[in-house]
Amino acid sequence: MNLSWVISRNAIRKPWEYEAVLMNAESRKKALHYFYEKVVGPLGFKFTPDEELMNFLLEQEVILENKHGIPFCPCQPLRHNRARDMQIVCPCIPFHRKHFDEIKRCWCGLFVHKDVLDPDKLPQLSPKDVNLE
């Protein structure tokens, strides 16, 4: 097996350029899916039934993991402060429990409450929008 792994430090790449440096993304997605499922289940969440969205988000996480070594949420800002960035490592549900339980989804929508059948009907509301914090 010949896998090429190029680690680029401090190079700001455009998103499409990361394809050239990815390890086998499909294998990594499958592994992430396996680990995440075990974590979010007991929290009352499951993967979104929207498979296209799920695949896209997992791919973005693989890209982020290749860049930073850690699969961060594809929809939240990295603050370059360890304590803060740990709060957006996927799955970040425990750090945003009240908010995500209220909107029945996590911020990027990778996970939804177990009873959700139509994820398109779940708007992306901020904590303020649902009278939290």
Binding site: Q60, P74, L125
Partner: protein, 81 residues
């Protein structure tokens, strides 16, 4: 004409949808992809988000109003269209 500026991420599908909304409604807007910006810009945006307690993208500013999250109905209302 309302001024529309947004902070987004190149890795976020909701940010893409947000940009599409304004494009389709033919509303001009400016945007910065936070993850592709330089350190100084990221720091500035991070401070701006903290000032209003925002924690996620997309972050859309329509004149003085700001909306966190992909919320097309609120955009429509804020734009008055």
């Amino acid at each position: 004409m309302k001024k529309v500026n947004m902070y987004t991420l190149s890795t976020c599908p909701w940010c893409r949808k947000t940009k599409n909304y304004f494009t389709e409604h033919k509303i001009p807007f400016t945007y910065i992809d936070y993850d592709l910006a330089d350190e100084a810009t990221q720091s500035r945006i991070s401070d701006e988000l903290d000032a209003v307690g925002a924690t996620g993208f997309p972050f859309v500013k329509i004149d003085d109003e700001f909306i966190m999250g992909y919320q097309p109905e609120r955009y429509t209302k804020a734009l008055g269209i």
